[in-house]
């Protein structure tokens, strides 16, 4: 069975919510819509305090090429524009809206019928995706239109749909595939048209046999979409690892993934694209896996963006007494937060409630040079060495040992028997090394 070639780990899957159908979460009373729910420049606010908005009304406009539009997830009144601390832990400008009713913009087609034909040409599709504020919602939240417009010297040959969902606990993509397979396939067709490729691989890990079966069945009559069953191995959902696993090509250090001829899109993004292009619906809601061993009703909830995580946890049965940590996303790459008012955003794939017994890190002990981190690193780096180099501020050697290639997947810290915080050091050093590299590049110019 296919998988990527270097490193990786297989954490306990803990897919508690596998098999839970998508349930609509209750409508929020108030939402906090941050202006940077994507990688790139924060969007520019186009509403003012006191404005009345509908579901789908443009709230903020993309500010530059790498940025994205943001639309209102509820109908109601803008009560203030302020800053909040979002899931990343940074202060972000945000629009506060108090909800009244649930009135949608008339332009949005809310009827569930499947629309398979799309008459738009490539450019019009990309414009639509841009307009509807679509970003990669697998977690990286990179504006989708940017990925669909590769540099002219790089010609995409295939589309790879990332339906790997290698993070433990998360099942939102799995649930979406089971519920919306037809829509996803139309989304894929639209994407193929937009980037002018004629072949798509859908990469799914083998722990989702029902999704593999369903998509195989739906695509059985055609040969331009191929479902690829992948061995369960983290971080297979990483863009570079997925390209390697599916078509056996490795992105060179520092190069764009599209240099391999492949463009990767998350399966939930493909669905969002279907809704944007065929139904005129902006990215205002998504499936969020709310999960944890002590939750009474963990599940996959269809939730409007900007609702406080406390409300989703409430929908899942309320915050358990033994809670020790709350993570936005999965346990390997998610971000911990102590603030229950943190709003969800386009990139919130899950809310993981971890019991106190599993919430604490263990005391680190001396490195025994067991080489488990070296074996686990999917980028072929030496985490034990990089962390030591950063600890003694030898950034030059750290650069020589390619610290900038780190994808922060956490396989090193995960596998360290001495519980050393390897990724903490590497992340710190990577930021500093990349700043030095940027400064050097700027000087050359």
């Amino acid at each position: 069975m296919k998988t990527f070639k270097i490193g990786g780990v297989h954490p306990r899957e803990n897919k508690l919510t596998a098999g839970c159908a998508i349930t609509p979460a209750p409508l929020p009373q108030q939402v906090v819509v941050t202006l940077s729910q994507h990688i790139g420049a924060p969007a520019q606010c186009v509403v003012a305090k006191g404005d009345t908005v509908k579901v789908g009304t443009l709230l903020a406009q993309a500010n530059g090429f790498v940025s994205a539009n943001i639309h209102s997830p509820v109908s109601g009144v803008v009560t203030k524009i302020d800053t909040i601390t979002d899931g990343t832990g940074y202060q972000k400008p945000a629009i506060f809206i108090t909800a009244e009713g649930d009135v949608w913009e008339e332009s949005i087609d809310r009827i569930e019928t499947l629309i398979t034909t799309c008459d738009l040409d490539a450019q019009a599709i990309i414009e639509k995706i841009d307009q509807m504020g679509i970003v990669g919602i697998g977690g990286a939240t990179f504006p989708t239109k940017v990925k669909l417009m590769p540099p002219p010297n790089m010609k995409p040959e295939v589309l790879i749909i990332n339906a790997v969902e290698c993070e433990p606990y998360l099942t939102n993509d799995h649930a979406l595939m089971l519920a919306k397979a037809d829509e996803i396939i139309v989304g894929i067709e639209i994407l193929m048209k937009a980037i002018n490729v004629h072949h798509t691989y859908i990469g799914i890990e083998e722990n989702k046999p029902d999704a593999i079966e369903l998509l195989k069945q739906k695509t059985a009559h055609r040969n331009d979409i191929e479902v690829v069953r992948l061995q369960c191995r983290y971080p297979q959902g990483g863009e570079k690892q997925l390209i390697d696993a599916v078509i056996g090509r490795q992105v060179a250090s520092g190069a764009l993934p599209v240099s391999t001829g492949a463009i990767v899109q998350n399966v939930a993004t493909a669905y969002a694209i279907y809704e944007a292009v065929q139904k005129n619906k902006p990215l205002i809601e998504r499936v969020v896996t709310v999960t944890g061993k002590s939750l009474t009703r963990p599940g996959n909830y269809l939730a409007r963006m900007g609702m406080p995580i406390s409300q989703l946890i409430e929908a899942a049965g309320g915050l358990p007494d033994d809670t020790g940590k709350i993570v936005l996303g999965g346990p390997m790459m998610g971000k911990a937060t102590a603030n229950l008012d943190t709003p969800t955003g386009k990139g919130t794939s899950g809310i993981l409630v971890i019991p106190d017994t599993e919430a604490h890190r263990q005391e680190p002990s001396p490195c025994i040079r067991c080489a488990k981190c070296v074996a686990a690193c999917p980028m072929g780096l030496e985490p034990y060495l990089l962390s030591k180099l950063v600890a003694k501020s030898d950034l030059e050697t750290a650069e020589d040992r390619r610290i900038y290639d780190c994808i922060e997947c956490g396989c090193c810290s995960y596998s360290c028997p001495a519980h050393r915080p390897l990724l903490d050091y590497i992340r710190l050093g990577k930021g500093r090394v990349m700043a030095i590299m940027r400064a050097r590049a700027a000087e050359k110019k």
Binding site: I368, G380, D405
Partner: protein, 326 residues
């Protein structure tokens, strides 16, 4: 409610600890221990118990009274050093010599470098080599094995390695390889049974405690090198000679349990193979042309010293280094 913890990712851990790795190696040594008690009797048990107790005690005393730092005797590393040192000794060695060896292994081999993770040389090996040089008489008088250790004290005899070194073709051709496999020959008591050690190796690989690279490259190198130097006496003889090189002496114990010591062996698969091949070559050179019948301890010791250099130059295979298109 508890105070919520905020820490950077990852929020999950494999659950494997340093102590679990060490106890895993100890479990893998149980078959060899049982065989040694069968062939060498209560002496094997006494030497092991003395060595382990001394190693743990010395580590405790040094950490508590000399370094005045944290105590780490429960992490299993001192116990493992004790067992490995004992397994490399003859079963009839005086116990005070064992204690001297333990003091050298822990005190000089490990703690003087800064304790766990900082030592350049495998502590058990350092202890063994120290004893071999200091007490050559006691360290090279091996009792012959007998079931349940009956009459062990009486007879001592030449080891297989001595016969191999002398190179009498007829004598070598008549050695029974089966005895080497089960451990029915004279030697340090933990090293004699090839089968028991191989069972331990399979366990270590299955539990993912070590990888195959170091043991396999040492064993293969010794086999091929031995074949090359003995093939002039015919294939049949060369096979017996090479098999005996692998199954006798400390080769399997060393290749599986000593050379794979985490702290003192290389970090990358390529580095591990280079390390293993060089250990194999040095071992055979010493065994055949050196002053000592057994060269493995010295070979590992030398390559322990070369490990930082290997780590510097043998980099892992980086992602995307070879860009494949098509």
């Amino acid at each position: 409610m508890n105070k919520l913890v905020v820490s950077p990712s990852p929020h999950a851990h494999s659950g494997l600890s340093t102590a679990q790795c060490m106890y895993g190696v100890l479990i893998a040594l149980i078959p060899a221990f049982l065989v040694s008690i069968y062939f060498f009797g209560i002496n094997a048990l006494l030497v092991t118990a003395t060595s382990v107790a001394a190693c743990v005690l010395f580590e405790y005393l040094i950490q508590k009274y000399l370094l005045k730092g944290a105590l780490t005797i429960t992490d299993g590393t001192a116990v493992l050093t004790g067992v490995l040192l004992a397994f490399n000794l003859p079963s009839n060695i005086p116990l005070w010599i064992v204690i001297v060896g333990a003091l050298f292994a822990i005190g000089i081999g490990k703690m003087s470098f800064g304790g766990l993770g900082n030592n350049i040389f495998n502590p058990a090996l350092a202890g063994r080599i120290f004893l071999l040089i200091s007490f050559p008489q006691q360290m090279t008088t091996w009792p012959q094995p007998s079931p349940w250790g009956a009459g062990v004290d009486g007879i001592t005899g030449p080891t297989t390695l001595n016969i191999l070194k002398q190179g009498n073709v007829e004598e070598i051709a008549n050695i029974d390889v089966i005895n080497a496999l089960i451990g029915n020959y004279g030697g340090s008591f933990g090293e004699v049974s090839a089968i028991a050690l191989i069972i331990g190796f399979i366990y270590l690989i299955w539990r993912n405690i070590i990888t195959w690279h170091i043991p396999v490259s040492i064993i293969l190198t010794v086999f091929l090198f031995s074949m090359a130097v003995s093939i002039n006496h015919g294939l049949e003889y060369a096979l017996i000679f090479s098999e005996l090189q692998i199954f006798s002496g400390g080769l399997l114990l060393g290749a599986i349990f000593m050379a794979t010591d985490y702290v003192t062996s290389p970090m990358t698969p390529g580095g591990m193979i280079l390390y293993g091949v060089l250990i194999g070559i040095i071992t055979v050179v010493i065994r055949l042309w050196g002053a000592y019948p057994e060269g493995l301890s010295f070979a590992i010791f030398i390559m322990n010293g070369a490990t930082p250099l290997i780590n510097k130059y043998m980099k892992p295979k980086r992602f995307g280094e070879v860009v494949k298109h098509g």
